[in-house]
Symmetry: C2
Subunit: 358 residues, 2 copies
């Protein structure tokens, strides 16, 4: 267990932008909320699931909605605590800690604000260690853990509790309700014992995220050799460097979908295409898929290594495309069916980036 420092929080926000893999919403919206909550309620402890009592109740908390809406409608904050309290009431048990469902994008930080207000710690872990667009796209689903009972709350006091037969139905129902409730609501799901989290979660991901942010900060601070240090820590590789020459981005059903085309700095005939659905999911170097979901595709500003979200993309931007291996916990039966390229409708095989040169 350790106390999250203001600096650590800043690093976590930066790391979360990277792990958003282009999606997941801008963590700086949630950063402001966490800073406010910490000023009002006090700082927050980060705790390993294994440090809790094995029977302790852990609840995840997240925002659900369209990232493009969230940049316009900043969450009020009450909906996150309401979602957690509603689920706790439904379960008849108080949570000992809250947890992120996805460490990646703005959902990385919301649990910190809830934890500050409720006076409980945040578990150092999650179920994606990146952003994904669906509640069911978690290592918990692979472990057979139900997302429900699950509660959804808006800022006006509306609450919906779900008991579903599959996590896929949970996702569909929650999404359908969000469409009626202002497009950005609090969601509490995957109620688990600390023992289950320790066994089936991606443990250490909050700390990993902050560490990634610290390395990125060093690059931005101009520290010599910082880029190489970052790549080494993340086991990441630069797959492409060039400028954005085409961007086809449309929002359908609350999702930002489209493609991004980048032209190599040196060879104008060499191009990389990124396909995204909220997150970047496939990177093609010419015709070859070189990075594929669930591995992470991140677009970084070429000069200062600032991760760029899909909403932040612009024609002419000079960028590096960096591939990061997904959390090792993803590599278990069912991964490809749940979060592989074909799960997103791409006729492309998954190709791990580990052990390959860029």
């Amino acid at each position: 267990m350790y106390r999250l420092t203001p600096e650590g929080l800043q690093h976590m926000a930066l790391g979360a932008t990277l792990l958003g893999a282009g999606g997941g919403g801008d963590p700086y919206i949630s950063l402001l909320m966490v800073q406010e909550a910490m000023a009002k309620y006090g700082e927050v402890n980060i705790v390993s699931a294994s440090e809790l009592d094995p029977d302790d109740l852990v609840l995840t908390v997240a925002v659900i909605g369209a990232p493009t809406v969230m940049t316009e409608k900043v969450p009020s904050g009450t909906e996150f605590v309401d979602a957690v309290k509603s689920l706790a009431k439904y379960l008849g048990k108080k949570p000992a800690a809250v947890m992120a469902i996805e460490v990646g994008g703005l959902n990385t930080l919301f649990p910190l604000a809830v934890a500050a207000e409720m006076g409980i710690p945040v578990v150092d872990g999650d179920s994606m260690r990146r952003a994904f667009p669906g509640i069911e796209m978690t290592v918990f689903t692979l472990a057979g853990i139900s997302a429900s009972p699950m509660s959804l709350a808006d800022e006006k006091g509306n609450v919906v509790v779900f008991e579903t037969t599959t996590n896929q139905i949970a996702e569909k129902l929650a999404r359908a309700c969000v469409m009626q409730l202002g497009m950005a609501d609090g969601l509490s799901s995957y109620s688990m014992s600390a023992k289950q989290v320790a066994e089936h979660g991606i443990n250490g991901s909050m700390t990993y995220c902050a560490e990634l942010g610290r390395y990125l900060q060093q690059i931005q601070n101009g520290k010599a050799g910082a880029y190489a240090e970052f790549l080494e820590f993340a086991k990441a590789k630069i797959f492409f460097s060039g400028k954005i020459i085409d961007l086809d981005r449309r929002t359908t059903g609350g999702f930002a979908r489209g493609t991004l085309l980048i032209e190599d700095f040196k060879d104008p005939d060499r191009r990389m295409r990124l396909d995204f659905q909220n997150e970047f999911l496939i990177a093609y170097d010419g015709d070859e898929a070189v990075v594929t979901t669930p591995d992470l595709i991140c677009v970084l500003d070429h000069e200062n290594a600032q991760p760029i979200t899909v909403e932040g993309l612009n024609f002419g931007q000079r960028v590096n495309v960096v591939g990061l291996p997904c959390a090792p916990e993803w590599h278990q039966p069912g991964m490809l069916e749940l979060v592989g390229p074909r799960a997103f409708g791409y006729d492309t095989d998954y190709r791990s980036i580990e052990g390959r040169d860029a």
Copy 2:
């Protein structure tokens, strides 16, 4: 309190078709379910709310979905008991009786099947005494009673519990979930004490419905003077007699919307137009709105007085258009805003049919 006889049940189904006012789904789907439940679990008692202990819990139960879907997907039955039990569990209290939310269409009868299985009576009352397309379109809403907490269940075991700030939001959320859950689910809502039901419900409506059915049955049996007896009992009037010459019916968002044109038997220049949204909502004799929601517009077969639902309409049918006054409980502040013509988007004033000649 009285025991519902098999004959009384048949009459209730026939009356429910009439009170469906063209919508509400075909009661014969639910009739089969009730007959099955009664054969398995025993007969059902109909009880006045005032006969119950004032503190007794009463829960409504209904199917929610598209009537046009329900004729193809017969409910399995488990979703209704599941909805009631889920809400009871959420409230932490067992219901002493169940009740129809709408006495009109197939929702009239489902509570009888649930009551048989749960071994509790059905309250002789409801909140519409006709069919309406929205959960919020009840005299309970006018009395300030919340539809939530409210639970939705499908036949596969999925359950959603809602706590909403308004009954309008409750309707929107439930409808959004139904679109994801097979288009026909069990809904339990408006949890109330028996005292509240006695004070704010439309009491006696189940018995009224069966009586209407009994009068219609007498017409169909060829009893002399039966039509006049029916009209007198129902305070109803025949507003038009003619044959269907045009029908524009389309299903959008689970609702059957459209218009029906009827030509007078004697005067081919005289026409009546009925506008419907699941239910018939406005009857125009030429340019004049002669019957308007919430009063009931019912289309009856000209020969045998069988009420015809919107799905059963056909070109060339010979029909009577009968207007029935809505339940007197509707006449209170807020009625027009909730269920008047303008609430359905028609630029027409409400015009009570009571005290008027057809």
